[in-house]
Subunit: 799 residues, 2 copies
């Protein structure tokens, strides 16, 4: 065995992510980063020949198997069944044989190996030059896509070229179910691995096409995978097709004279259902394959390019002064798009469709971190996710009843809408997810004015979540309190009057009342009367916001600022993330914060806090936040910028943008839970959030979109587009060198005239009339500090 | 099959518990109530012939098997292995055949069947008259004991008499390992059932003696069971002995002429070890059998009687006016004695050695409810249990380190000293167990002056628990606070400054400092210096006691009195116990109390509260306490009496005394978790506690024993003995009829002159000089009330 060519770090191409060589130690992470997905199908970036591989993943959104959730001591309302995403039938496989040698870059000599994710064409290209053990040299060029335009389809263009002589080649293009997975992990945050979850139901083949249908045993779901092929070959060729059980195979054997190429286009289609029969599913994927044949490889490529051109024209963020960050932000936005583009009735998972991490579950971060980006860049995708929430309302109502509450209680983690959390203090008790769903709903409605969604889903989502809060809280005298819940910070649990929960519940109650006033027809249908709306407003007006007069800061929850301090100086670096080295009881009772909580409230409900309060609160909580979650640095960046800590905001931006790209893995909290298990989609959306809400200062309080741009010292330009109220607005902030003054140009790229705000001043935008305004100087501020050893790495821009 | 004779309720004999007939529906509970035990061996009251049976239990204190503790989501410090008591080799079995029919009261005709537990002889007697299917009538009389004087021994006297003709009889006297158990339960509070936990290691037999040695597979413990026999038979007889694997058998076949008797005495011995070999354990039980042969049945009977005469002379409680209560209190005291009499290095479990409930684990109630009775009646047994705690100090120190604390953290539930709790908010977080151990230690030291125990164990227990509190609490300004813990009330968890925990920790810190001042030699050995003692005293002096000024009551924990009220009126009776019908999160965040918490603090630390505070606090918390735990009513009785609610105290007394005797099962909380799984030893000790601390008004604050007796209206006399400071003191309170005044006679039965107190007035006692004093009239009080539907049943004395 010889090593493949020495890997080189990925270069900072503005629109591409490339890796040369093949470093086996980062293979899992590279598979995640090279995942292609469209929100429905996800194919990890594993090699066509199948090996070497880390995690051979093919996922279909919403398709899962159940597993028992054991409890050492059972309790009422503890979920007894969990759900986990399934690695479905693998259609990526094209095994190649040169003479009698399998093509495997771990063996013999690899002259060249490069993989490139292209963010504008939406393809993963791979080029390999390899010499077989008996001396035959070949070039393999593959390119694959998961179609944004044909959501059931993926395709691979696979080309083999003989470089130095006539060779016999054999190709096996497979569909393979129940392929062996990676070894199980012991980190509690990783997913459960299932052993052979798919039961063969149907296999069919004809010509160059084959289909396999399988069933899961416990969740009782059917999945169909199909493939078809278009073959171009210069000389004599033989093909066979076969399908049975867990394997379908299209075999090609051919003689390849020197300098000639064999070209195979493999079309792959997937479908799943909880209701349709195996033959119906087979027919469905075969229809998709027929569409694919009609479009052809070029047609699919063109559709992909067109879709992405449209996306980038509405969504792009351009950064000048830090090419690495530019690349990372675009790669991140591309993966967020892939997670949600065509989900259509399914959820956006915490890892998208890129890995088995977190069992493929969806959490609150979909609404709070991912949906803001989607709402302002590709609102249809935000709507799809909220429609999934609406589809699961019945499960959420049932859960609320089980918990003794009214309205709907959305699950902490789920695939199909039923609660799958095995630890209730950080699951069931985190009721804020309901306000997060409401917040995302209200944001989507304000940004789009989508009355059809409002009528059919939006008002109901707001009403049912508001009903939950009305029953969860209680009046103590003139105060409305919400006791015994857990906020976003998972190092504090089951507390009274968590500030984040309270202010988000307050907004939920107000938005529900507003929506019912706006849409009395829908309110009537949902049984909301004037008395109920009045109760919501009374509760919202009376919500407690705890403030510690002695310290001059708000309190994260009742008693928080009286708790003991964590001994950060006495905590060794390898003890992070703390949850793997300290018991919950120690974490809960001390002033140590896993992830932004009150600081997140100051972002999402910033209108409730004065600038001075924000500055004092930010400094206080910054000193106690260890960032053991990837759901923290983006918001810290946003508030750092708002409170004038521009360099700190820039450092956090880099931390967020490189969570999965790996530059900061040794500094971020999620060292064990890294990119190999799948990408952190919320953190990737955070890269956009820091650009737009952080340095762009974008806020949407009360549905009014405002800006307050500033540049960090290292950058000379940040330019981004936003889609809202049917407009596309460009915000372009620049300066010439770090010492010169900054200015921002606002331009209406699409839609009718609109008013926005620049650092508090109104800006009226009309088509064809850009407005350029100076950026006021940032305030002088006292430095803030992080817990000992937990400061973000200082960002040094690299070319 | 014919029914056995109609069962009649057990009669209220003052010194016996009898049941006639055999009601299969209460078979499990009767097996528990007829358990014989000596703190080392426990034999459930199953029939010699083995069937019918509910739970065939034979337990040896400290002998357990391990089992995995699964967690749906793992967490740092969660125990991964549990422990569960094992039903060891059954030596109670003597199967009888009359002709060709097995003797089984479910078949053919039972003329008479009665079982009697005799509290003074310490035996279980059983008399049956039965006619076999072929018409032969016999009388079977058995009597068994588990020896208080020979702790490794039990014995059965078994007599068969032919009533109406010559019959052939066969007896099989067995040792049987891995006998099938009862069906598994789904109540989370019940124990885990193990399938065939014993692996055969050695079997031996000779003459009429046989021994089996078995090993558990995971905990790797050896248990040896042996039997020997003494046979008296009037006529021709044949015997055989055999032993192999899981079965040893002594077989007797004989002809029994009319009116003659066969008499078999079966001696049974047990031993277990984690270190000794199988042959060594075999020899050990065979030596015990030899001792048993020497003593003989009569010798064992006499030793038993002598032991119990001594116990009752120091411990008896006499009640006039309620024979049922009299019987229940003595039965309860007998079972408490059986749980701890000869534990010697092992613990007193929550169910003693009477069943598999709670997996055979020991909890805090041993120290808080059981040890007070043992300390003042048979102090050696209290010491044995505390010595077990001392033996497990190393495990407790290790647990403290694992939890990031200093000193020792005793487990919430355990058999061998390692934590076995699967739900940390109601396990690990209930740190008060450490103060409870310290409280019991200080009480034992004050009551006995046992300097040897103080030197070797007592000071160290106080010091290591005090060190835990010093590291668990923290100073906030001048206040010492203990955050994030759970008090006794399991419907409130993970709170700041639980009042019970704080005042008990305060006492723990003070007692440790006092002990170190008293014993500087021991303090030196334990590394305690003046600075550490000063820190303990500073912390103790600064402990927070939360008080709600608006309501004029103390708060059970931070924020408790601000929480929402439970909707008691809307809670149906069948929804109790609430934990089986509501999620923890709802219970935790509302003012609903499972069991006394602050009220228990007012008992154990009563010196900290004024009479007015006690009255107000009692009324407030009484209205919110649902008694879903059997660890509640006894303390409610004690505080009810102290605050002048004598009838309520009497009602609670009856509830406590009949928890396992069954009269109140439909009213108490533990309806599902009933006596069939084993007796509630702490509740049984509570029967004594209500007599002595409730109506006797006994308090031992600061080690000073004081009394304040009163009678409930229904009773004419309560007389009890107490052993303390080497004295035995009689306290005898009487009146003639319910309207006449009460008076109390104090008499020194044993030991030197001593001063005590009667309702606050000093009483000097000398030998032979009883003092009689009038009882002051009880104060007039406002009625208190319980949650809707949760008032105790009104006690109506029955003859």
């Amino acid at each position: 065995m010889t090593d493949p060519a020495e890997p080189s770090p990925h270069e900072s191409h503005p629109w591409k992510l490339s890796m040369s060589g093949l470093d086996l130690s980062t293979l899992a992470a590279s598979e995640s980063l090279f995942t292609l997905a469209n929100g429905h199908i996800g194919l990890r970036g594993s090699l066509e020949e199948g090996e070497p591989r880390a995690v051979p993943g093919t996922y279909i959104n919403g398709f899962f198997e159940e597993r028992p959730l054991p409890h050492a001591e059972a309790g009422y309302g503890f979920p007894e069944s969990g759900q986990t995403v399934v690695n479905v039938t693998d259609g990526k496989l094209i095994r190649l044989y040169i003479g009698d040698s399998p093509f495997d870059v771990r063996y013999s000599t690899t002259q060249f190996h490069e993989r490139t994710l292209d963010l504008r064409s939406g393809t993963l290209e791979r080029r390999t030059e390899w010499t077989s053990p008996n001396g035959s040299s070949i070039r393999v060029t593959s390119r694959r896509l998961v179609s944004f335009t044909q959501r059931a389809l993926a395709a691979i263009s696979y080309e083999v070229e003989s470089l130095d002589g006539d060779v016999y080649v054999a190709l096996q293009s497979d569909l393979l179910a129940n392929e062996p997975g990676a070894a199980p992990s012991h980190d509690p945050r990783n997913g459960a691995s299932l052993d052979r979850p798919l039961h063969a139901e149907l296999a069919a083949c004809r010509d160059q096409r084959a289909t396999l249908v399988h069933r899961t045993l416990r969740s009782d779901l059917l999945v169909a995978a199909g493939m078809d092929h278009v073959l171009e070959v210069p000389d004599h060729v033989q093909t066979t097709i076969e399908a049975a059980g867990d394997l379908a195979r299209f075999t090609v054997t051919a003689r390849l004279p020197r300098g000639t190429k064999l070209h195979l286009v493999k079309l792959i289609a997937y479908g799943w259902s909880s209701r349709r029969s195996a033959p119906a599913l087979r027919d469905q994927v075969e229809a998709a394959l027929a569409v694919g044949r009609l479009a052809g490889w070029q047609g699919l490529l063109e559709g992909q390019r067109h879709f992405l051109d449209d996306f980038w024209s509405r969504a792009d963020v351009r950064i000048e002064g830090d090419p690495g960050l530019q690349q990372a932000v675009r790669v991140s936005m591309f993966h967020v798009l892939q997670a949600g583009a065509r989900a259509e009735g399914q959820a956006i998972g915490a890892r998208g469709l890129t890995g088995l991490g977190y069992d493929g579950h969806t959490f609150w971060d979909a609404e709070t971190f991912v949906l803001p980006m989607l709402t302002y860049t590709i609102p249809r995708a935000a709507r799809d996710h909220l429609m999934w929430r609406h589809l699961t309302l019945e499960q959420a109502r049932e859960r609320a009843r089980e918990l003794g509450c009214e309205g709907a209680a959305f699950p902490w983690r789920t695939i199909d809408g039923r609660e799958c959390s095995g630890y209730w203090p950080a699951g069931t008790a985190a009721f804020h997810i309901n306000a997060d769903v409401a917040d995302a709903t209200a944001r989507y409605l304000a940004a789009t004015g989508d009355t059809e969604f409002e009528t059919n889903c939006g008002v109901e989502l707001l009403v049912e979540t508001a009903r939950l809060w009305a029953s969860l809280g209680h009046f103590e005298g003139a105060l409305f309190r919400i006791d015994g819940v857990t906020g976003p910070d998972e190092y504090t649990a089951i507390v009274d009057d968590n500030l984040y929960t309270n202010v988000m519940a307050q907004k939920n109650l107000e938005e529900a009342a507003n929506a019912c006033e706006r849409r009395p027809d829908v309110a009537l249908r949902l049984g909301v009367d004037a008395a109920e709306m009045r109760r919501w407003r009374e509760a919202a007006d009376a919500v407690v916001l705890l403030y510690d007069d002695q310290l001059g800061v708000h309190s994260q929850s009742e008693g928080f600022t009286s708790h003991d301090e964590w001994d950060f100086e006495g905590t060794e670096p390898q003890m992070y993330p703390l949850l793997l080295h300290f018991p919950y009881f120690q974490l809960y009772r001390k002033q140590v914060i896993k992830q932004v909580d009150l600081v997140l409230a100051m972002h999402l409900r910033g209108e409730l806090f004065s600038p001075e309060e924000k500055a004092r609160n930010f400094a206080y909580y910054e000193a106690r936040t260890v960032r053991d979650s990837s759901l923290s640095a983006a918001t810290q960046a946003v508030l750092a910028v708002e409170t004038g800590h521009l360099e700190l905001g820039y450092d956090y931006w880099a931390e967020v943008a490189f969570v999965d790209l790996g530059d900061t893995l040794d500094n971020a909290g999620d060292t064990l839970d890294n990119a190999g298990d799948g990408l952190h989609i919320a953190s990737m959306a955070g890269s956009w959030l820091v650009a737009v809400a952080g340095f762009g200062g974008m806020r949407d309080h009360g549905g009014r979109v405002t800006f307050a741009p500033r540049l960090p010292p290292a950058l000379t330009r940040i330019r981004f587009q936003m889609t809202f109220s049917g407009r596309v607005v460009l915000v372009d902030t620049r300066r010439n060198g770090s010492a010169s003054p900054e200015e921002t140009t606002y331009e209406l790229l699409e839609g009718d005239a609109i008013r926005t705000w620049h650092h508090g001043e109104p800006v009226d935008l009309e088509a064809g009339a850009p407005v350029t305004l100076p950026v006021p100087a940032a305030p002088e501020v006292e430095p803030v500090h992080q817990p000992f050893g937990r400061a973000p790495r200082r960002r040094q821009p690299q070319p």
